[in-house]
Amino acid sequence: MDSPLLSARVRRILVWGSILTASVTAAAVGAALVISRSVPVKPMRYVEVTPVLKLAPGERRADEFESFCLDNGRAAPRAGETHTLSRTGATGLRPYLREVFDEYLTHPSRWRQGDVQQGIWYTEGHKRWESLAPEQQLFVQTAAGKADPVRWNPVVLLSRIAGAFGPIVLTNLVLAVFALLVVAVGTPDPVSVVGRSLAWIGGPRLAQAFIQGRWGRGVSFLAGLKIVSLMRDGLEEAVSRFVSSVLSRRV
């Protein structure tokens, strides 16, 4: 028997959705366990050689730091721009960044700052291995334990794809939603407009299937919503009255 709040179909979707989510999560955790057991963890040695900086509340101290840029795409800082010393999540999120810093901090006299900077930018995934100088390649290889480590690394690959396609995907999906709203608000029969576009792109059969199917009913539902009709008619009338009253006052 259907509950008054949830129909049988919605309950079925919820149950199967939960099962699917739980299965994917369990599979991901299992795969992560297997991967983490099979690849040895490289111990971080920088904590043994780097002095710990401790400040009492209200204490002021002048210290000199060597700093590196983590994001090659950002504009260079302007002269006199204030810097804040804070913890960064990048070392935990970007593969091989921790290893690169560990190598430099444990052997600071062995590597040049410029080579380290190139190595850091390489971990972003935008630089090709071949474009690095031999010393830079040696530095990254020593830190990561292998040559060209970020190639085909899924974390870096995702970050690269998201960097290139993320704004495009977001923009296009938002544009499609707005265009559908323009259709729903701007035409008396939005289903026929969407159907016509489908007929142009995929042929009349697709258009027919859309008009008679649940997607067509969805668009009709959207166009028939009270808020949409209020926007369409109420706003028109309100602005029209406002313009008329302004004009009549001026005469």
């Binding site: 795409g73 995907v169 499609a176 576009s197 602005v239």
Partner: protein, 176 residues
């Protein structure tokens, strides 16, 4: 490799798949958005404030969202000023031409169609260049900002102009 790193590795692999679906969906979405706007925008008869307002909002918010992307950081620093200036210009042109004779039987506004085509062409071209790895497209980004501001302004200005034109005979009737 620690468990957290391993989980990140697996989650990223799933993320690549999800993003792949998003890329395909967005490619389909822009084609449909292009066609829908081309069908509806030039055929808006009368004032239709809500539809024109939504069109203006679409042009401004989509362009704003796109130009705010981290990849374009510093590429077109004056884009907001360009949008506002072109919005004011686009609004002024139809408002200043209120007294110009209008064909009452016209159902298709070719100017509006070309504005939509120009704006979306700049957007698609810029996206193609971004995918090709060229994020330093200053002139194109300014053209995109300008065309979207002009479209939004023209859309609102023509609605306002039409509304004023429609209310004048009523006012004259009341006065007579």
């Amino acid at each position: 490799m620690g468990f957290k790193d391993g989980l990140q590795y697996v989650a990223s692999t799933i993320g690549i798949g999800i993003l792949g679906v998003g890329i395909v969906l967005s490619a389909v979405a822009i084609v449909f958005a292009f066609v829908w706007l081309l069908i509806v925008a030039p055929r808006m008869r009368g004032a239709t404030i809500a539809a024109r307002l939504t069109l203006a909002l679409a042009a401004l918010s989509v362009t704003g969202l796109y130009l705010r992307a981290a990849r374009f950081s510093g590429a077109a620093p004056w884009w907001k000023i360009v949008i506002v200036a072109s919005l004011v210009l686009g609004f002024s042109v139809p408002v200043l031409r209120i007294d110009a004779p209008v064909d009452p039987g016209r159902v298709y506004h070719r100017g509006m169609a070309s504005m939509v085509v120009v704006w979306l062409s700049f957007l698609v071209l810029s996206q193609a260049l971004l995918v090709a790895g060229d994020a330093r497209q200053g002139v194109l980004l300014y053209l995109l900002a300008g065309s979207s501001g002009w479209l939004a302004g023209f859309s609102l200005g023509s609605a306002m102009g039409q509304m004023v034109r429609e209310s004048v005979p009523v006012r004259n009737r009341e006065a007579g």
